[in-house]
């Protein structure tokens, strides 16, 4: 445990916690599992271990989503600072503050506003923006697609590249390609997203003139034009995520390759290909999938900064703009969506991890 706490180990932590949450004695986790029918949960767990695990994991995610909505709405209310006051500035008269509060519905009790908001969200209605008065859902509908488009292409490029490079590093372990990949990736982890972005803009777009900046996309653009517009933001995201993902892949494969049963297989005289395909791969798939999903989750966050750098009309830009003018309905809607995507990706990682782990398929 102590040795795993290195730079490569930190990102893998969430999986451990969720696994701990599953095995822990928290009664709320069982809410998603179908109980009843004879011996109850224990019997069910014995008969269908995998299904019970998955149901628990799904239930946990739903619980988490609900808890996040509470934090995003009610938690914010509990913080010191009055929306109306900060919205109008320090010099506002008490009358103006009261007017604004009434106009935005802030004079209602927090709980009833939360329920109303949650009801709206469940039907896909995020309310109206305070700053512009437009429907938040409409704006998000326009922008979410753009963000997902960008994240999708970044993922499509970075995942195979990272897994490939990670395997390459393991193959040439402790020789120069591994060291080179290690040093470069250590450097790349330390680069802030905006730094990578502006370097690309300066050298590729401004001095090279190969692509245009800013990377605006608008309705009516063809698919090819859109792809061309997102080349630079996509490249930035890939560079930012790649190093992390690759280091974690390398650590995952090495930790499997250095386990005693692989050593046994080696000593038994099996050839390398067979060891990797039959012995190492089944146990390495789960950690690699976790790594990939966690980094996709990270991608969703990295998108915020990259969109601001490239003036790309997506969710991140929308949220940052809203935070600057303290437009709470927009901030809450974007926050909830980003958090949901993050939770869903983490859940997918865990579920794939459960499905691909041969040890979990058979009850003890």
């Amino acid at each position: 445990m102590v040795q795993e706490s290195g730079p490569a180990g930190t990102g893998r932590a969430p999986q451990g916690s969720l696994a701990a949450g599953l095995s822990g004695p928290s009664p709320a986790n069982d809410s998603g599992a179908p109980s009843g029918r004879g011996g109850g949960l224990a019997a069910l767990r014995r008969r269908m271990p995998l299904a019970t695990l998955l149901a628990q994991r799904l239930g946990l995610s739903l619980l988490l989503l609900w808890a996040v909505s509470v934090v995003v709405f009610l938690g914010i209310e509990a913080l010191p600072g009055d929306f109306a006051q900060t919205y109008l500035g320090q010099s506002a008269t008490p009358q103006a503050v009261a007017n604004i509060r009434a106009e935005l519905g802030l004079d209602q009790p927090a709980l009833s506003r939360y329920l109303e908001w949650l009801g709206g969200v469940a039907q896909g209605d995020f309310g109206k923006s305070w700053a512009s008065g437009n429907s938040v859902t409409e704006q998000i509908g326009l922008r979410l697609g753009n963000t997902l488009f960008l994240a999708f292409w970044a993922a499509l490029v970075s995942v195979p590249l990272a897994v490939g490079l990670g395997m390459l590093a393991v193959h040439f372990r402790d020789r120069w390609p591994d060291r080179l990949i290690n040093v470069v990736s250590l450097g790349a982890i330390s680069l802030p997203e905006f730094f990578v972005g502006y370097i690309l803009i300066l050298f590729v777009a401004v001095q090279g003139g190969w692509v245009t900046f800013p990377s605006t996309v608008y309705a009516g653009m063809s698919f090819g034009q859109r792809l061309e517009a997102i080349i630079l933001p996509c490249a930035t995201l890939v560079l930012v995520v790649l190093a992390h993902m690759m280091r974690m892949t390398r650590a995952a494969i090495i930790s499997v390759m250095s386990s005693p049963y692989i050593e046994t297989a080696e000593l038994k005289g099996l050839d390398t290909l067979r060891i990797i395909a039959r012995h190492a791969a089944p146990n390495a798939v789960a950690p690699i999938i976790t790594v990939v999903a966690l980094n996709l989750a990270y991608l969703v966050v990295g998108v915020v900064v990259v969109e601001v750098v490239f003036v790309y009309p997506g969710m991140g830009q929308y949220m940052v703009d809203a935070v600057t003018v303290r437009d709470m309905p927009v901030v809450q809607a974007c926050g909830l969506i980003f958090a949901s995507v993050y939770i869903l990706l983490n859940m997918t990682a865990d579920i794939l991890g459960i499905l691909t782990n041969p040890r979990l398929r058979h009850p003890r």
Partner: protein
């Protein structure tokens, strides 16, 4: 410890950190111009009177950078120290007390970690007034979740050891067990984590400032300088890249030192130290 045993990469990290800390501590003495002093035309090129040129308002970029080192390092360090105190205290309490306290704290921590840090910070900063101590507090609280996770994992391993049990049986108090039994035995992984968290705090603060939500102008900080000068990029002026390089350099140096520390401690334990 032998000086010669320190590898080249660690030396690079140590020297880089030393330079940054020197700039931060003696900023008013070594900066050629004042922090907010307008000294020339906007975006003058490098060389001549101004080693790195001037920024978007005609302020000396090198001086801004040196003052920026002060702000960035001070705020990041304050946030990291605070997040460590908070995270270590809570995680050790959770590990030592166990039971419902442990469950409660761990589940709250899971919930906090289920929202991405940057998104959480954006939501919170949208409500809170823009003041420096609030910024430090927000960074510290969000970061302490990561410290909590590591601290708890490490402390749980130590709490089951015989010497802790012996201390309990001799009737030592909870504080004694946390500070005299567990803390000394978990110091080396926590120290390495401190370095990583500091590097992360620098990056995080710079990102927030770059988005306009961190340190407010005219105070100089590295992320803010990038934001100030980003419009110059379109005209081919690299002023925004210099503070960006400073941020990256500082983070790389910290990582190099941490890497060396981790390797040293893992080889001391003589394991398969691949982590």
């Amino acid at each position: 410890m032998k000086w010669r045993a320190i590898p080249l990469s660690a030396w690079i990290g140590i020297v880089g950190l030393a330079i940054a800390i020197f700039c931060a501590v003696f900023a008013p003495l070594i900066a050629p111009y004042g922090e907010r002093e307008v000294v020339g035309d906007i975006w003058l090129p490098m060389g001549g009177d101004f080693v790195l040129g001037t920024d978007n308002l005609g302020r000396d970029l090198l001086s801004r950078l040196i003052y920026g080192a002060q702000t960035t390092i001070f705020v990041a360090l304050a946030a990291t120290v605070l997040s460590f105190s908070l995270g270590v205290m809570l995680s050790f309490t959770a590990a030592v007390v166990g039971g419902w306290t442990d469950q409660g704290l761990s589940r709250i921590n899971d919930l906090m970690m289920s929202i991405p840090t940057l998104i959480f910070a954006l939501i919170v900063l949208a409500v809170l007034p823009q003041e420096l101590w609030i910024l430090i507090l927000v960074m510290a609280v969000l970061d302490s979740t990561r410290v909590f996770r590591l601290g708890r994992a490490v402390a749980v391993d130590v709490t089951v050891m015989e010497f802790v049990e012996a201390a309990r049986l001799r009737g030592e108090g909870r504080m004694w067990i946390i500070f005299r039994e567990i803390l000394p035995n978990t110091l080396s992984p926590l120290l390495a984590e401190f370095g990583l968290r500091f590097a992360f705090a620098v990056l995080f603060l710079s990102t927030l400032s770059f988005l306009g939500l961190g340190i407010q102008p005219p105070e100089a900080d590295w992320g803010g300088i990038v934001k100030d000068n980003k419009d110059g990029i379109i005209f081919g002026i690299p002023a925004a890249l210099i503070p960006g390089a400073a941020i990256a350099g500082l983070a790389i140096c910290v990582n190099l030192v941490v890497d060396w520390l981790l390797k040293r401690t893992s080889s001391l334990k003589g394991g398969r130290g691949d982590g």
